[in-house]
């Protein structure tokens, strides 16, 4: 058995070849093909201009935002094993995540990561603006980026309610009352009376933007469950789709923009 193994080159075994598809590259073309033929490696460009790796130029803020997003995904999934989004359990579950759960720091990592991601996304946007990287042909990717920024803020907003403490409840009360002041679609917003059929007003406390956001008239258990689903499933799925388009467009629009 051992003798047989010694004699065989592992790089030429059936298993190796079935996993990696291409031979160990010997030239530039081979190295390119190796990157292009691997699902993980192909996410990276096969080559990049020298200026694109300068931290002084990019601050690496886009990459850091994505890295923090991955950390938030992993820690968020772990938190879901302990946290129950009901009014009777949410608050104590969050305390238990610090007091009784192994290591007691997973929730803090998630919280710090959430703050950090908001900061890195804003700094990324600032860098892109200051280096003029929003200009054609990258103007569409700037628009995608604005959607990603909005989704980041929505993830931050929905996560804010989940600890179910006084700060959470009143912050979401204030935030959802802003939704009630939406023009046309909010019950207290300007022009809400215009949205009507005959005498029947269509924008009421039981049909306006705030009601659709919370699923009830005030912040209660229904809003907690709804924000939990938005935070853990709906918004992450949507943001991953837009991130895919965002990263793909960086490549297709000519890679990281050059110095002016």
């Amino acid at each position: 058995m051992a003798e047989e193994k010694k004699n065989k080159n592992p790089f030429k075994s059936v298993i190796w070849k079935s996993i990696f598809r291409v031979q160990v590259p010997q030239d530039r073309r081979g190295r390119m093909m190796q990157v292009l033929n691997n699902v993980f490696l192909h996410l990276h460009p096969v080559s990049i201009p020298k200026h694109a790796v300068k931290v002084k130029y990019t601050w690496c803020m886009g990459g850091l935002s994505f890295f923090v997003f991955l950390v938030l995904t992993v820690t968020g999934i772990l938190l879901m094993f302990y946290y129950v989004p009901t009014t009777t359990r949410a608050y104590t579950d969050v305390i238990d995540l610090a007091e009784t759960t192994p290591l007691g720091i997973m929730r803090e990592i998630h919280r710090w990561g959430a703050h950090l991601m908001v900061i890195t996304v804003w700094l990324h946007m600032f860098r892109v603006f200051m280096t003029g990287a929003y200009k054609p042909p990258r103007e569409f990717n700037w628009a995608i980026g604005v959607i990603l920024l909005t989704l980041t803020m929505l993830l931050s907003f929905t996560g804010y309610l989940l600890p179910w403490d006084q700060l959470a409840i009143w912050a979401i009360t204030v935030g959802s009352n802003m939704a009630a002041a939406t023009p046309l679609l909010g019950r207290e917003g300007p022009g809400a009376a215009l949205v009507s059929i005959g005498d029947i007003n269509l924008v009421t406390p039981l049909s306006d933007a705030k009601y659709g956001l919370l699923g009830e008239r005030e912040v209660r258990g229904g809003a907690l469950l709804r924000f939990y689903v938005f935070h853990c499933i709906a918004f992450p799925v949507v943001i991953v789709v837009f991130m895919a388009v965002h990263f793909w467009r960086v490549r297709k629009d000519g890679g990281v923009s050059g110095p002016l």
Partner: protein, 171 residues
């Protein structure tokens, strides 16, 4: 090469194909539109599991004139205020962004902890960002002589609602 335009023996002509495609796309768009409408409507529940909006708040005699009662604030979010000649109920919901203010007896005002709006005992706003006075709710007497508060009916000062006899009780 087959010349499609003159191929009359084909089971489906170009014109027929296009018209069928039009029908298919119209149905597909209608189905998607209908389904998305359903998804949107699904997020607006028909039944709410909220506590009833009206409650009995004891007898008028238990409230002393010139005082604000905070007894029902925790459970029903309402203050009962009795002045020299009348009793009214104020909804403890700040008119700025919906937080619950506190009654500060020493300063004789309602103060909101979120952004600092202040209201007089009457509910009139006088400081902070609140744009209008606190709302009052319907107050009446139940058959057994207790106060009956109904939060589903609100009265706004800026609309002249506080003159409505349902918004206060003479003592």
């Amino acid at each position: 090469m087959v010349d499609n335009t003159s191929n009359t023996d084909a089971p489906l002509s170009r014109r027929g194909f296009l018209s069928w495609m039009t029908v298919a796309w119209v149905f597909f768009a209608a189905a998607m539109g209908g389904f998305l409408t359903m998804c949107g409507r699904f997020l607006f529940p028909n039944v709410l599991f909220e506590p009833p909006s009206s409650f009995k708040a004891g007898f008028p005699d238990q409230y002393s004139p010139g005082a604000v009662s905070v007894d029902w604030k925790g459970k029903h979010r309402v203050w009962i205020v009795r002045t020299d000649d009348r009793i009214y109920a104020i909804l403890a919901r700040c008119t700025h962004l919906g937080c619950t203010p506190n009654w500060l007896p020493n300063e004789s005002k309602f103060k909101c902890p979120c952004h600092g709006s202040g209201f007089r005992m009457s509910g009139i706003n006088f400081e902070g960002p609140a744009p209008r006075p606190l709302e009052r709710v319907r107050i009446g007497l139940a058959e057994d002589g207790q106060l009956l508060i109904d939060k589903s009916v609100t009265f706004r000062q800026e609309k002249g609602d506080w003159e409505n006899p349902d918004s206060y009780l003479m003592t």
